[in-house]
Each structure stands twice: as C-alpha cells, then as structure tokens.
C-alpha cells in the first residue's frame, strides 16, 4: 500500500463514531447513499411482486388486500424515501460545497440532523408499513384514509411527517450555502447548472413540504379525533384534501426531476467539451419550472368533481410548464452540435435521460389535454407517464451522476465495460416495462387493479418481462460499483478532464475540500476550443 497516502475525507477517521457523528457533508452524503440505496431496493422488491401478480389476469400470488398494501408501500418508499432525497441528499450534499468552492455546507450539524430525521422517519415508516400495513396508496385520499382504512395510517403518516423535516432542513441548508458561501468571483451566472437546479429544488422543498406536513397532520386529527375536515360524513370536504395534497405533490415531481436536469447539464457539457448551449435560458428554465410547478396541482383533479373552469385554468397553466421543459431538451441537444463527444458511461445515462424524459414530457401533453385526460387518468397511461419522468428521468439522471462523480467520491474508477452494458440493459428494460403501459392505459386498464379482464394480459406480460430485466439491470451497477471500491484503478483528481471546482481538488477530496480558497475567473463549462485535424477550431 501507498504509505505516503494523503489525508482525505474517507481516511480522516475510522470506526462507527467517526461516521455517525460526522459533520462533513461528504460523509453525510455517503450515509445518505447507503440508506437511500437500501430503500430503493426495498421499494423495487415491492414492485417486483406486483409485476409478478400482474402476469396473469387472476389473483394468484397475493390477495387483493396485500396487493393494495404493496402498491402503497412501493409508492411511499420510492417517492418519499428514495426519489425526493436521492440527488439532493447524496450528490447535492457531496457536491454543492465542492462546486462552489466552500469548505462545507452552511450548517454542518443541521445537515447531520437531517440525516437522522431521514433515517428515523424511514425506519419508523417501514416498520409501521410492515407491521400494520398501509393500503391507502401513497396519495392517502380521504375519506378512505381518514375513515375507512383499517391499516396503520397514523404511524405511516407520522413517519412521512418526520421525514418532511429532513427535506426542509436540507433545502434550507442548500439555500443559505448557495447564497452565502460561493467562492470569490463565483457570481450567480457563473454557477454550474447543477447548482441552479439544487437551488430551485431547495426553494420548492422549503415552500411545499410544510403544506404536506399540515395536510397529513389534518388527516391525523380527523382520523383520531373525528374532527370533520375532509370527511363529508363529519361535515368536511374530500376535495380539500386533494387540493392540499397535490399542492405539495405536484411540485414534488419537480423536486424529483429538476436535480436530474442539473446532473444531465453537467454530463452533456463535460463529454461534448462544450459550454452548455443557451446557459441563461437553461438557468431561467429551471427557475420557471420551479415557479410554474406551484400553479398546476389541479391537473390531477380533472375528473374529481372540481369546477369545469378550474380544470381549464389548470390545463392552460400546465402547458406553460411544458414550454421550459421543451427548451431544456432542445438546449441539451444543441450542446452536442459541434462538440467533441466521447461516449463514457455517464453520457449514455444522459442520453437515456433525454430520450425518456422527452417521451415522459410529451405524454404529459396528453394528460394536460382535458378531454384525453378524462379517459386516461387513473389508468396505466398515467402510471407509464410518471414512471417515464421519475424512473426514466430522475433515476437515469441519478445513476448518470453517480457514475460521473463516483471517481470523485471514492477515488476509484469502475469497470467501464460493465457500466456501459448495464446502462443499455436499463434502457431496454425500462422501455419494455413501461411503454406497453401507455397502450394498456389507452385501452382502459385502471391502475391499482390486481385482477383485470383477460384481453389486457399480453401487454402485462411484456411489462413484467421488462421489469425483470430492469431488476437485474439495477443489480449490475450495485455489484461493480462495490467491486470498484477495492479493485478499481485510481481515478486521480480529474479523470474526465472536466471543468468545475470539484475537479480541482484531489479524489477523494480532503476533509475541508480545498487547501486554498479557489478564486473563480470564468463561467461554468469553460472548455478550450476544439481542434480538429484541419486546424480549425470553434468556441469563443
């Protein structure tokens, strides 16, 4: 072994205490990485049993009640314990200080508290779900959840309530850090788009999560004390719950996907050796999506019984969100133009993201189209659409980011061959799982059905086959990434020759990130002009 090893954040201390009491944002990121990976595989396991049940039209693997618990647990686990924290809590935690040239987040102890709230809320919820069950779906619609379900609604809601504070504190920490701790010379418009995305996400988290907390608290009050808030039998209004719930849960979609957009901007620029096309439009689009995302919650309620005119307003506003999303896709594509593209694994994930997000986004146009939504809402069309956004988009972006910054985080390279292979497997498996569901939905198969008319079987079999491939596809990176920790070759500070402050410090970084405070003199993505053999060059 190398005896002259320098001190980095990984070897700065050993033993459980050095991890569980750490205030180093990089170690906290690792704690999150391990815990969200656990929840991801738990949530994936629930999905696999569901897909197995759906292989045949009859009920043969699980009972109706168990199936209802499975989709509820799958949704709750994946959304609250994997997707919402995924990129911010792991990559954001690790990278926000590094990318802005800071030594840590603004509130390092608060950061550790966030993780404890996350893990406490997570385990609390998981135990509650596995002991008393939960059969309300992740949406907790009233009056079913407040008066009819006999499962552990209160404990599960309590766990999510606790988790919400973890999100809020992380968001707060990021906002303060990005405002106050940027290196000298790092103006707002020199920030990498990943930071813009983290900033916008944090603002959404801080504004929206309290509304979820209030909603869940009101649900608890109604269930325990029978105070009529949502249940009409007690004088409440069931649609009020849906309005409050979606006021958080629609912006939550952007909490899940904006960070991925940030990641993809980093990947596309690095591997095409070019500044992002339309930087200002990209940053503006991120902020526009964050702001408009608060105004469209009612598009989940076109058949709920809300006013026809409210439906029209929400539909129109939803189309406004589509525009900045389209602008982002066009700009990523245009960034490749006259680039110098090398096909490393992270770029494959970025391509996967752009392709799947495009399909997810365009099918969003179908759902915003009122009369079409009336037919396809609450069917598999919706299931397919949001999986294209959340798995095709958010998870692809997350994995792309993990592969891109893995050498920075661990100091090691993974096996590129296996990594490319698994990116391909995931892309194929994903499409095979979810594309048939668009057709299934248009044919009219409702979601949350464990038994279905036999004519829907062929498409369900395709979907289950895809899910199997997808399941295997997720195990491959899990394996080679762990393998790389011991056997991977040394990465060096900047294996991709990327710009960005995080690459100007050793891999893994020292405990305080930078020996000297970096001074920034240029914008993000200042790649040198590309020389071709004819001697001509581009850039400016």
């Amino acid at each position: 072994m190398n005896t002259e090893q320098t001190v980095d954040y990984l070897n700065a201390g050993y033993g459980p205490k050095s991890w569980l009491l750490t205030t180093d944002h990089k170690r906290i990121a690792i704690l999150y990485l391990i815990s969200i990976t656990f929840f991801f595989f738990v949530g994936g396991f629930f999905a696999l049993i569901m897909r197995l049940e759906l292989l045949t039209p009859q009920a043969d693997v699980v009972s109706a009640h168990t199936y209802n618990e499975l989709f509820s647990m799958h949704g709750i686990t994946m959304i609250f314990f994997f997707l919402v924290p995924s990129i911010p809590a792991v990559l954001g935690n690790f990278l926000v200080p590094l990318m802005i040239g800071a030594r840590d987040l603004a509130f390092p102890r608060l950061n550790l508290l966030s993780w404890y709230l996350y893990i406490f809320g997570g385990i609390f919820t998981l135990v509650a779900m596995l002991t008393g069950g939960i059969d309300t779906g992740w949406t907790f619609y009233t009056p079913f959840s407040s008066a009819y379900s006999t499962t552990n609604v209160i404990p599960v809601v309590t766990g999510i309530f606790i988790l919400g504070f973890s999100s809020i504190l992380t968001g707060l920490n990021f906002i303060v850090t990005i405002h106050k701790m940027r290196a000298p010379g790092l103006t707002w418009f020199r920030l990498p788009l990943f930071i813009w995305a983290q900033y916008a996400t944090s603002v959404i988290i801080v504004l929206a999560t309290p509304v979820l907390a209030i909603t869940l608290a009101l649900l608890g009050v109604e269930r325990i004390f029978r105070v009529g808030i949502f249940d009409p039998a007690l004088g409440g209004d069931p649609l009020l719950f849906q309005h409050l719930f979606w006021f958080y849960s629609h912006p939550a979609v952007y909490i899940m996907v904006l960070p991925s957009m940030g990641v993809v901007s980093e990947l596309v620029t690095c591997f095409s050796r070019k500044r992002i096309f339309g930087y200002y439009f990209m940053a503006g689009a991120i902020m526009a999506i964050a702001a408009l995302g608060f105004l469209v919650w009612g598009h989940h309620m076109f058949v709920s019984g809300q006013s026809v005119y409210a439906g029209m307003v929400f539909s129109a506003l939803s189309y406004f969100v589509a525009v900045p999303s389209a602008v982002k896709v066009f700009n990523w594509t245009a960034t490749l133009y006259k680039g110098n593209i090398s096909f490393h694994t992270p770029l494959l994930y970025a391509f996967g993201f752009i392709g799947l997000f495009t399909i997810g986004g365009l099918t969003g146009l179908f759902l915003a189209a009122l009369a079409v939504d009336v037919h396809v809402t609450d069917t598999y069309f919706v299931v397919a659409h949001f999986h294209y956004i959340m798995v095709g988009g958010a998870v692809m972006g997350y994995l792309g980011g993990i592969h891109y910054w893995w050498p920075k985080i661990t100091g090691r390279m993974y096996n590129e061959g296996w990594a490319k292979f698994s990116a391909l497997i995931l892309f194929v498996g994903f499409n095979l799982t979810f594309f048939p569901q668009f057709i299934l939905g248009y044919l009219g198969m409702p979601r949350r059905y464990h038994v279905y008319p036999p004519e829907f079987q062929v498409l369900n079999v395709l979907s289950t086959a895809g899910a199997t491939i997808l399941g295997v596809g997720y195990l491959i990176p899990f394996t080679y990434l762990i393998w790389s920790l011991r056997k991977g070759k040394q990465a060096g500070p900047n294996p991709w020759n990327a710009t960005g402050l995080e690459w100007k410090t050793p891999s893994p970084p020292p405990p305080h990130n930078f020996d000297k405070v970096p001074i920034v003199t240029e914008g993000a993505y200042a790649y040198p002009p590309i020389l071709t053999t004819e001697g001509t060059h581009g850039g400016s």
Binding site: Y67, D135, Y141, F144, M312, A334, A369, A371, Y442, Y449
Partner: protein, 322 residues
C-alpha cells in the same frame, strides 16, 4: 396482419359520440409527440456520430449563443400547446353539458358495487342497460368513499363522491357490451368493482324496462317517501304550507333569503334535505329539521325523481287554455 392487429388492439372500441372525438385529439397528439421525439432522437444520433471525438467534422461555431433560435423553440411549443389546449378544453366543456333530452339514470356507488336505478323503477347492480342513440345522463353519488365511474368504450370517467352529486353523460353509438370500471382506488375490493354496460336497440331497451315486472317507478316510491316522512305537511301543492311548494321547482331558479339565487337541481334538493338551514327560500323561516340520518342516498334519488315529476300548476293551467 389484420388478425394480428385485432389481437393487439391499440384503441378500445369507439362506442360513443365522445369516443370518436377524444380519439381524434389523441391521434393528433400522437402525431405531434412522434414528430418531436423523432427530431430529438435523430438529432442526438446524428450529432453523436458526426461530432464524436476524433471525427474530422468542422467545429467552427459562429454562434455559440443564439437568441433567435432560443426564442423560436420557445414560441413553437407555446403555439402548439395553445392549440391543443383550446381543442381539448372545448371537448371537456361539452362533456359537462348534457343535452336536454338525456335519459336520467341514478347511480349510487358503495364499497364495492354499483347500484343503478332507472326512473321507471328498474334497479340493477353492476349492470347498466341503456338504449343506443339517446344521450344518457348519470346522476351519481357515493355511500362511503370516492369511486369513479369509468367506461373506456365511451372515453368518459367521473369521480363519484359521498354526500354530493356529480354527473356524467354520453351518447352511445354502438350496440354491444362494454366494461364498467371503478377507476378511483376505493379499498380492498376496488379491482372487483366492475360491471357491464349493455347498449341496446331502443325497442329492446323498452322491452327490457317492461320485462322486469312489479317495478315501481322511482317517482312513485318517492311520493310514498314524501308522505312517509311527512314532507307533505309543510310542502303543499299551493304556497299555503309552512314550506315552499315544490311543484315545478325542479330546474327553476330559486331566490334565497340571503338575496342569492340557486338552480334547483339534484344537489340543491339533496342539500335541502341534509342541511335545510343552509339555503332557505326567501320568505320562509329556517324551521325544517335535517333528514340526513333518516334518508338513504337511494331514497334521496327517489325523492328527487318525485319532485321532478311535480308539474308547475301554472303550466298545467296554460296547457289547458291552449
């Protein structure tokens, strides 16, 4: 090819007027989506090959930022979106305005079945018999949680809420049997809360209505309830009672004592039974007690049918003059 396609259909049967309209919009959306997906995928592939590392393609970039291009590709999606919005909003609006000549059928949803009652008194469970070519309006409520009445072949869906009426209408265009699904998750038996819609030839429908003997029309049952609950002691034919007369009230505009007006539809009648103090008719005192605990949702529907059958005395008089 054709047998293959028919065993892998991409559309459900089009069995209503709305189905055709929704499918047309859907196909337009598919074309738009395919077009943009193709542009993105082809550009990605083309750039990926042409500008791969080491390729000799020129990298001279005259405009690293291009405002005109940015504005163009912001404006194009905006214009297309506006077009789709207007188209879909028009259809959505029409889906909420049932034609005046619709047959009105009552639906009560409960965990986990659909209870249906025709004005003629025919009741069915998880089945709905309707004639082809005549618009049908469903007046729906739930006894417990939220459900959703979904007939894919008609492309219509509407949530059904407790303590409230929602309506849904469609114009069936094709004789046949179609799926009825509950589309809003409602608990353990959600996936079995299914049924069949039978679209019949009008003469078969009449036969079906008549075939079930001893059916008492809803309005008649409603009249019995009206007397049973002693509604008739206050709500008399003339305006001499302690409550307003209900003759001719259905569908009319009612003036309330707070100066506002309300259309006397099913929701108004239901609210007046559940919470009589909420909307008091101008000139009357809030003395009516609530009947919320005593009248079931099915009985409310029957009372509505009865009130609907009460012809306005003036109109009767006018009719006699002519």
């Amino acid at each position: 090819m054709i047998p293959l396609l028919s065993s892998f259909p991409l559309f459900p049967v089009e069995a209503s007027q709305q189905a055709r309209q929704v499918d047309t919009l859907y196909i337009a959306l598919v074309i738009i989506a395919t077009f943009f997906t193709a542009i993105i995928f082809i550009s990605l592939a083309f750039f990926a090959v042409r500008y791969r590392k080491g390729s000799k393609a020129s990298r001279v970039l005259l405009h690293p930022e291009n405002l005109k291009l940015e504005i163009t590709w912001t404006a194009i999606p905006l214009v297309i979106s506006a077009g789709i919005f207007l188209w879909s909003a028009k259809l959505y609006f029409d889906e909420h305005v049932p034609p005046a000549n619709s047959i009105e059928i009552y639906v009560v949803a409960k965990q986990w079945m659909w209870k249906i009652e025709h004005p003629q008194g025919n009741r069915e469970i998880n089945e709905l018999h309707i004639p082809v070519g005549i618009p049908v309006k469903l007046i729906m409520t739930s006894q417990d949680v939220i459900h959703s009445f979904y007939v894919p072949a008609f492309r219509v869906k509407q949530d059904v809420l407790p303590d409230r009426y929602t309506t849904e209408w469609f114009l069936p265009t094709k004789i046949g049997e179609y799926h009825l699904f509950c589309a809003e998750y409602c608990g353990t038996g959600h996936a079995s809360m299914r049924g069949t819609v039978y679209v019949m030839d009008p003469s078969d429908y009449q036969q079906w209505l008549a075939g079930k003997t001893h059916e008492v029309p809803m309005a008649t049952t409603g009249e019995e309830l009206f007397q049973h609950f002693a509604c008739n002691t206050c709500h008399q034919e003339n305006d001499m009672g302690r409550g307003p007369s209900l003759y001719g009230i259905y569908g009319s505009t009612v003036h309330l004592n707070d100066g506002s007006t309300v259309i006397a539809d099913q929701s108004y009648i239901r609210n007046s039974i559940d919470d009589p103090g909420g909307q008091v008719v101008a000139g009357y005192r809030p003395i009516m007690p609530t009947f919320k605990q005593q009248v079931s949702p099915d009985q409310v529907d029957q009372l509505i049918e009865y009130i609907k059958s009460l012809r306005p005395p003036e109109k009767v008089a006018k009719g006699m003059k002519q």
